[in-house]
């Protein structure tokens, strides 16, 4: 067993059974449908045009390629989508290094040549992404082959074994023929997939997201920068996009759909399963149709230790809407909501009375409370104002009765 570099093989002279030079190697082809790594044939540029030399007829491979078949028996080469051409599809192209979890550019391809009976069998074993392949290609034909080999052996190799290589192919039909399924990529952590995908060109990102499992795609998509997310989803067809969005966290899905143009998000929603669609639709409207979307941040809050006089002073300075003045909220340490006093109570109490003594039970809701529940709270407790409180118990804003009326009028 010995290693041959693709760049050594390209341009090598081909001698047939009689030892006559018949042409030079132009391409090396693998047919993944037949065998994932074995070389199927070499494309040889001969005097009579390009011919396919079957790999089974090779006797030696290196600077000279020897075969025991007659050149007249080599078939004329015709382009086929179903074969992987190592020079065109691999050399100088970008691939995904699944082991190193990054996108790299191929400097050379390493083939293994093993003698079997009187022939040699060629297999792709690794791609070279380091200095060794680079220098070999730079100096090819300039430095004598034997001194080059001695030089290259001193350079530590940087190769990626073939099983860790995922090819980038943007043509979906060809991906099927070449059996490119991004299995290696799919096994990575979603955050790593996201990093890799962000390094790719748009067409290649699309290729990855069209191919990998929906669940993996969804998890990876969540980790990707929102701007890139939008571009990826826009490039997919609605059906595929819906399949992926369904698998996403509803929160993330809603954020993503919210960033898409309306007609596009509409199409994707239409393709989604009813249950997921409803969940996402609700969240999608979060903000505009929730407590947080309806509240005002202009309200009156004073410290719980204040007295009625302080409250009246605060009322005089308040510049917000009159509706908001119906209730004065009391806050404790860390601005947590601790009580509420109605304007009526303040008007009818003497100046030195502590506000906390006048406090009455109050109602509050979370920022993401849907607006119909907000309306229900107003109805049930006969509210004039409702406090919206964040997860730390701090008052974020208030909703006033007039807001609820507007809301109800517009909801039908």
């Amino acid at each position: 067993m010995s290693l041959v570099a693709l760049s050594e093989l390209l341009g090598a002279t081909v001698r047939d059974a009689s030892g006559t030079v018949r042409g030079r190697v132009r391409e090396v082809a693998v047919a993944p449908q037949e065998h994932p790594t074995r070389i199927a044939y070499l494309i040889v540029r001969t005097g009579e045009g390009e011919r396919m030399l079957p790999a089974g007829a090779l006797r030696a491979c290196g600077a000279t390629v020897r075969t025991d078949s007659e050149s007249s028996s080599w078939e004329r080469y015709s382009a086929s989508d179903g074969v992987l051409l190592l020079k065109r599809d691999l050399l100088d192209q970008q691939i995904i290094d699944v082991h190193g979890r990054k996108v790299v550019r191929v400097n050379d391809v390493e083939l293994d040549s093993t003698p079997v009976n009187s022939h040699v069998v060629l297999n792709v074993v690794a791609v070279d992404v380091g200095a060794r392949g680079a220098i070999r290609r730079l100096t090819k034909g300039v430095v004598p082959a034997f001194s080059l080999r001695a030089l290259l052996e001193r350079i530590p190799p940087r190769v990626i074994p073939w099983e860790y290589v995922d090819l980038l192919e943007t043509d979906p039909a060809r991906r099927v023929k070449l059996k490119i399924a991004y299995e290696g990529l799919s096994r990575l952590h979603p955050a790593d997939i996201a990093d890799i995908v962000e390094d790719l060109a748009p067409a290649e990102r699309e290729a990855v997201f069209e191919t990998i499992d929906e669940e993996v795609a969804a998890e990876a998509l969540e980790e990707i920068d929102p701007k890139v997310q939008v571009r990826i989803v826009e490039s997919l067809d609605s059906n595929r996009a819906a399949d992926i969005v369904e698998e996403m966290d509803p929160d993330a899905a809603a954020d993503l759909l919210g960033d898409l143009p309306e007609d596009r998000s509409g199409q994707i929603l239409k393709e989604m399963e009813p249950e997921e669609r409803q969940e996402v639709t609700q969240l999608l409207e979060f903000g505009e149709h929730t407590a947080a979307g309806r509240m005002t941040t202009e309200f009156l809050a004073v410290d719980e230790t204040a007295v009625v006089d302080d409250a009246i002073e605060a009322l005089k300075r308040f510049e917000g809407s009159r509706e908001a003045l119906a209730t004065i909220y009391l806050t404790g340490p860390g601005h947590r909501l601790v009580g509420a006093v109605s304007l009526v109570k303040i008007a009818t109490s003497s100046q030195a009375v502590q506000l906390s003594a006048l406090s009455e039970p109050y109602v509050a809701c979370a920022p993401d409370t849907p607006e119909d529940q907000v309306a229900a709270l107003f109805d049930k407790y006969n509210l004039i104002t409702l406090a919206v409180v964040d997860e730390h118990g701090r008052i974020a804003g208030i909703i006033t009765a007039d807001d609820v009326i507007t809301m109800l009028r517009h909801s039908d």
Binding site: D92, L138, K227
Partner: protein, 419 residues
């Protein structure tokens, strides 16, 4: 269509435009760097209005070439050096990148020299100014994000208005200048060696290899897609127009003053500002000096990073400011060395600066034909560009432009190495 609908239509269009504006505008403006400003000043000082006719063909050439780079970026989503590597192989890419580093290094030196000489007008020592400028450039790029840096660059582009104001202050003969811009060049000029040399110089500073790499990379970085491309084209066209209007005003300002009063000899762009002082007044002088500082620092910020990106992408090294230093060592080292060495040589007394400049110009002239021809081949590649390949008419204009550019650039190299 009523007025409101019309306004809304314009609003959407403006919004679409603002989403893609940046790469084309910035790249075109950086074209007016220290070297460019000097060439334009010299053209005005030595030949008055008689070279203004070059502005229209130069603008066309600039638009044609920049449009190709920007279209490639939008359609393929890949940088120019990526595409060259993928289509033309490792060896060619390697030598092209080597040459790009050499010529861009010369440019970086020239930009820092511009920073130094513009601030020396205000009496600041280069031993303080140059290291500070280098540090600012390094930090700006390493610490900033693409969006924030782009905003700063757009601001710097807007600052070129300095030259337009300076042109107004010079009180030129508007009618003569306008006529000279649109009229056929006179025959007398063609036989004049100095005149020809100046034409070559003007065209030669217009299109540089690094611009194509930078423009395409920033179109990709900004995420401009094929669908946005139509709008993106306006970014290129408006950028080129603004750039050449600025150039026009520089020529006019110098023609109305230096040429008219018989001061044709200026040694560099700072010298031009100095010479304007007694002729066009204190404000014109200040504007010229400030404009030069802005242009030089602006170009000095863009060249090193653009070189580092192009080289690392083409040769397959890890690159990107989102990576850590140890993840992309070649990228960061190349970037840092270009800045430190480019600024550093200016602090060495008796450093043979002229030789570096000439070498850089020669390599520039050698690299440019390759880059332009590669661009034409790539933009005509159906497999790569799909339906966005060059049209027949565009190809004719583009090939003529490219051939003229190549001939004139080579002519400039030859004349420069002789003098």
């Amino acid at each position: 269509m009523n007025l409101r609908a019309l306004l809304k239509g314009w609003k959407t269009r403006l919004f679409l435009f603002l989403a893609v504006v940046g790469p084309g505008f910035i790249t075109a403006n950086v074209d007016n760097d220290a070297g460019g400003i000097y060439t334009y000043s010299l053209a005005g000082a030595q030949f008055g209005y008689s070279l203004l006719w070059t502005m229209i063909p130069i603008t066309i050439a600039l638009v044609v070439v920049q449009e190709m780079a920007s279209r490639m970026g939008a359609v393929t989503g890949k940088g120019l050096s990526d595409l060259i590597r993928e289509e033309f192989g490792f060896r060619l890419t390697f030598f092209l990148m080597l040459a790009l580093v050499v010529t861009n290094f010369g440019n970086v030196v020239a930009e820092f020299a511009g920073v130094a000489s513009s601030l020396e007008l205000f009496g600041w020592s280069r031993y303080v100014v140059v290291p500070v400028a280098a540090a600012i450039v390094w930090l700006l790029i390493v610490q900033g994000t693409y969006n924030s840096v782009e905003k700063i660059f757009l601001l710097a582009s807007g600052f070129y208005v300095c030259y337009i104001i300076a042109g107004l202050l010079a009180h030129p003969d508007w009618k003569a200048a306008a006529v000279a811009t649109v009229s056929r060049p006179s025959n007398i000029g063609i036989r004049n060696y100095g005149y020809l040399f100046m034409v070559i110089g003007l065209v030669g500073t217009t299109i540089a290899p690094w611009m194509q790499f930078y423009l395409q990379a920033s179109v990709v970085e900004k995420g401009v897609t094929v669908r946005q491309y139509r709008t993106s084209r306006w970014d290129v066209i408006l950028g080129c127009l603004f750039t050449d209007i600025v150039a026009w005003f520089i020529i006019v300002a110098c023609a109305a003053t230096l040429y008219a009063k018989g001061h044709p000899d200026i040694k560099d762009a700072a010298d031009a500002a100095q010479a304007l002082r007694p002729l066009a007044g204190e404000y014109a002088y200040l504007l010229f000096a400030a404009g030069l500082f802005n242009a030089s620092l602006f170009a000095a910020s863009i060249l090193p990073i653009s070189t580092a990106y192009a080289v690392c992408e083409g040769l397959g090294f890890e690159s990107g400011l989102d990576k850590k230093f140890h993840e992309a060592p070649v990228f960061y080292w190349l970037y840092t060395v270009l800045i430190v060495a480019g600024a550093g040589v200016l602090l060495i007394p008796r450093f043979p600066l002229v030789h570096i400049m000439v070498l850089s110009q020669v390599v520039n002239g050698v690299v440019l034909p390759f880059v332009l021809i590669f661009m034409l081949l790539l933009t005509n590649d159906k497999e790569l560009m799909g339906e966005h390949t060059n049209s027949r008419g565009f190809n004719i204009v583009a090939w003529i432009t490219v051939i003229v550019m190549i001939v004139l650039t080579l002519a400039m190299v030859i004349t420069q190495t002789r003098t």
